[in-house]
């Protein structure tokens, strides 16, 4: 287990005083301090980690957020922002000596602006809530994490979340036009708006995916996308993952970027089929769902091309959806893959690494070896278009030592992703979960540079500490410039 920073005893001693001060800022039920009520916030989607927060604060205005942060900065109190608490990397894990800042009350859609294809919303609005508000007008908000019913747009920004459609339509970062953020010192800054590319440094871009470490998002302007008139899916089965992977590569090499392209391995296919009876073939090693969306003539044209590419790559199953119902059925199994694995195993642990797609067969083979060595089953679902792999490790938390073994297995998988040229996380974030693996991808200099960015936003390291970075350095130490004055150290360098 990853250890969190030691609590500040001075802050814990002053708990009552701090709570009283916070009540001055956020009146009434906005400050929660009883144990049973705080319990609701003790974990997020990474349930293996739990910690009761010192106090929960639920502000409802930007001004309150600003005052809370300023107070906390002045009083050396840590703050952990939280949206819906669905983070799978422990991004919203509370701290014993910290304020848990819940953004749930920021739940209003402020403006829908169809002529400019955007909406202005508060950060606590759910991802699906945005789409629901605009779908009557033929629009939707494109990034669609599987958790979209529950997760908030503020959390999506913090994690730069993706979904099955993000190869074609982009991640959160490609679909946000503007944000309002409160810095740890209480200052409110607005970045971007209803126009493209904010002036100056792209601080909106760097806040997106910053896992709640740089500022608290209090307003968001998102882009809206016109819904495609048609969508059809093809269900393809392959005898080996090599052939499935080759098919994906050939589809892209043929110039086709599908709306969605998802792969599942045998254990995942079986779990899903047993659960939802989507009609998946059970005798294949790899199942591929390719969805094409757009105007009907384009979709029909591309479907025919994909069918031909699949046949050339040895697909033993090839079924094209003939109607909306069938398309939904093809997806039903994939969408239920997580709960389906949950049915056949007491617990499962969802990993999230990205690999160069060509490494898929190698990674799956090595993962099978590891699975045997650790004595733990693993099922794989794969955003095949962009190489984002979600291995689901099956374990039983009640068996002593099994969670620890699962974590080790998971860490080995992620190191493997890095080894083959990939990365530790494609969409779930580093959080606490992968914090101590950061040095498998980045060296000290890389990490120090990232932390210097943090210093520009939060010099005292009070916003969501203990996440993302394995070692916490003081900003004063990071900021020191070591000057080696003297001769020009490169006599052979031509100067003209």
């Amino acid at each position: 287990m990853v250890a969190m920073p030691a609590p500040d005893q001075a802050v814990l001693t002053r708990r009552e005083e701090i709570i009283a001060a916070l009540r001055q800022i956020v009146p009434g039920e906005g400050v929660i301090d009883t144990v049973p009520e705080r319990r609701a916030y003790e974990t997020d989607g990474l349930t293996a980690y739990r910690q009761l927060p010192m106090v929960v604060v639920l502000p409802s205005t930007t001004d309150q957020v600003s005052q809370v942060l300023r107070y906390c900065q002045q009083n050396n109190v840590k703050v952990v922002p939280r949206g819906a608490g669905t983070s799978l990397s422990g991004g919203a894990l509370p701290l014993e000596d910290g304020v848990l800042l819940g953004m749930a009350k920021f739940n209003r859609i402020l403006e829908i602006d169809i002529p400019n294809r955007c909406a202005v919303v508060q950060p606590g609005v759910t991802n699906l809530g945005i789409t629901t508000a605009v779908q009557d007008q033929g629009f939707y908000y494109a990034p669609d994490p599987s958790s979209q019913i529950a997760c908030t747009i503020g959390g999506n920004i913090a994690e730069n979340s993706g979904g099955v459609h993000c190869l074609k339509y982009g991640l959160t970062t490609n679909n946000v036009l503007g944000i309002e953020v409160v810095l740890m010192n209480g200052e409110i800054v607005r970045l971007g708006g209803k126009y493209f590319d904010p002036p100056g440094y792209d601080l909106m871009g760097v806040l997106t995916g910053s896992e709640g470490l740089l500022g608290v998002v209090t307003e968001v302007t998102v882009r809206l996308t016109r819904k495609a008139p048609t969508a059809r899916a093809i269900l393809l089965g392959f005898p080996t993952s090599e052939e499935g992977g080759k098919c994906v590569a050939d589809i892209i090499a043929a110039g086709i970027i599908p709306g969605g392209m998802e792969m599942m391995d045998k254990p995942a296919i079986h779990a899903a089929e047993d659960f939802v009876h989507a009609g998946y073939p059970l005798d294949v090693e790899a199942l591929l769902i390719v969805e094409l969306d757009g105007p009907a003539p384009e979709v029909d044209h591309l479907i025919a091309k994909v069918e031909e590419i699949a046949a050339r790559n040895g697909a033993v199953t090839s079924r094209t959806s003939r109607n909306e119902e069938e398309r939904q059925l093809f997806w039903a199994g994939r969408k239920a893959a997580f709960p389906a694995v949950g049915r056949i195993s007491p617990d499962y642990y969802c990993m999230d690494g990205t690999i160069p797609r060509k490494a898929l067969p190698l990674v799956l083979a090595r993962m099978r070896e590891m699975s045997e060595r650790y004595g733990l089953g693993v099922a794989n679902v794969f955003h095949a278009g962009d190489g984002n792999l979600h291995p689901l490790i099956m374990y039983d938390a009640n068996k002593p030592g099994e969670l620890e073994r699962t974590e080790e297995f998971g860490a080995d998988i992620l190191r493997l992703c890095v080894e083959v040229g990939g990365v530790l996380t494609g969409e779930h974030g580093v959080g606490v979960e992968k914090r101590d693996l950061m040095d498998s991808m980045f060296n000290e200099t890389d990490l120090a540079q990232q932390q210097r960015l943090k210093c520009a936003f939060d010099p005292n390291g009070l916003l969501n500490p203990g996440k993302v970075f394995p070692k916490l350095h003081r900003c004063a130490e990071l900021g020191r410039v070591h000057v080696h004055r003297g001769q020009l150290g490169f006599p052979d360098l031509p100067r003209f």
Partner: protein
């Protein structure tokens, strides 16, 4: 001006470490095609990184390309074309506009200036395709960020920060970008429009349709007359232009649908492949406003539906010509060389009055760029935050100092 010609990242590190110790500001230069962009700098040395050139990794089906930061864009375009792929954000080529014909734009320069083109509305800007890099910071340390895969959230997305930082936060040495398939076919639907406001309606209708428009521009009558593209030049007045790209059956269908849908505004015409290509390239590179070369040229990013109003306001207070792209969200304005403060007050007031946005003085003589804010001035807290970010990457302020803002 003396130039250090670094042959690799290590030498870049040595030069910067020396410059930091001696507090000697450096102008970072690769192809030198955009030296006239930004505020003029008072640097005594040039750090020439043009040796860091060449594609190091490119596998078409992975949609990823890695290259030395000073690799000429032309070399990358050629390699991609062989695999029917492209840099999807359609980076603008401002050489002619900036009087830099003959220079070689590089991928690092394109990223550092966060360039984009008409396809910005559909495919994003350089920032959206920048996946990873190695760079030397202002301490002379080589470090890396991001990755070499298309989907990655490990650590801060420093790619975004470096895109559009104009080399003020570090010297890129190696970059990884996302690449995409080239569309098989492309067409343009041209709708004659007499009024700017009608044009915005046409563009909005096109963009809000399900036809995946990948270019949405408006040329007023005085600009169409100047166009080289036959159909545009022949049209008697202003024209709204909508581009669709994709496989043949798709572009045929979508262009027909758009023509029908917008027919009530006037007789729509369909432009073929080669005319379409020339037209959007001219738009991308601002060729229609490049002459005469002494006029100031501004680039404005605004709320699309307000584009026409912003442009009209400016034209009312100074001698200005303009055209609209991005469905109204991008305005290119050329202003008479006699206008006081290069027209900055007129331009920025108009932007502020119509919902905000930002304006960049892309072309002006050096003395004017020294006196007028080239980039949109930032409000207090944001300016302070920007200075702290600079401090974190380049504490001695030696990398392209003052290129964007004084003191940055």
């Amino acid at each position: 001006m003396p130039a250090f010609q670094a042959k690799d990242a290590k030498q870049i590190g040595e030069v910067i470490a020396w410059a930091a110790a001696e507090e000697q500001p450096l102008e970072v230069r690769a192809g030198g095609s955009k030296r006239a962009l930004g505020r003029p700098m008072q640097t005594e040395h040039v750090l020439d990184i043009s040796a860091l050139s060449g594609i190091t990794e490119y596998e078409a089906p992975e949609l990823v390309l890695t290259a030395g930061a000073a690799t000429p864009l032309a070399e990358i375009d050629a390699a991609l074309a062989q695999k029917n792929q492209m840099i999807a954000f359609e980076p603008a080529d401002w050489r002619h506009l900036l009087g830099a014909d003959g220079t070689k734009p590089t991928i690092g320069g394109v990223l550092a200036c966060n360039l984009s083109g008409p396809r910005r509305i559909k495919a994003g800007a350089a920032r959206d395709h920048f996946l990873g890099f190695q760079a030397v910071n202002g301490r002379g340390e080589l470090f890396k960020a991001g990755g070499k895969v298309v989907k990655n959230v490990t650590g801060y997305d420093l790619n975004k920060l470096y895109a559009g930082a104009y080399g003020t936060l570090g010297v890129l040495t190696e970059v990884t970008i996302k690449v995409l398939p080239k569309p098989e076919t492309v067409r343009t639907v041209l709708v004659p429009c007499l009024e700017d406001t009608t044009a915005i309606e046409v563009l909005t209708e096109g963009l809000n349709s399900p036809h995946e428009v990948s270019g949405a521009a408006y040329l007023p009558p005085n600009i169409t007359r100047r166009s080289q593209a036959g159909t545009v030049a022949q049209s008697q007045g202003g024209v709204a232009l909508l581009r669709v790209e994709g496989p043949e059956p798709s572009t045929a269908y979508r262009s027909e649908q758009l023509t029908d849908m917008l027919g009530r505004y006037g007789p729509a015409a369909l432009l073929g492949e080669s005319e379409t290509e020339r037209l959007w390239e001219a738009l991308r590179d601002v060729r229609l406003l490049a002459e005469p070369p002494d006029r100031y040229v501004w680039r404005l990013s605004v709320t699309p539906s307000r584009g026409a109003s912003v442009a009209c306001d400016i034209a009312r207070s100074v001698d200005a010509e303009y055209l609209l792209d991005w469905g109204g969200g991008l305005i290119w304005v050329s202003i008479s060389a006699t206008a006081p403060d290069a027209g900055a007050d007129a331009v920025r007031t108009a932007v502020r009055t119509h919902g905000g946005g930002h304006a960049t003085l892309v072309r002006a003589p050096e003395n004017v760029r020294a006196a007028v804010s080239v980039f949109e001035p930032l409000p207090g807290p944001l300016a302070a935050l920007t200075a702290r970010v600079k401090e974190g990457f380049d504490p001695r302020r030696i990398l392209n100092p003052g290129r964007m803002y004084a003191g940055i």
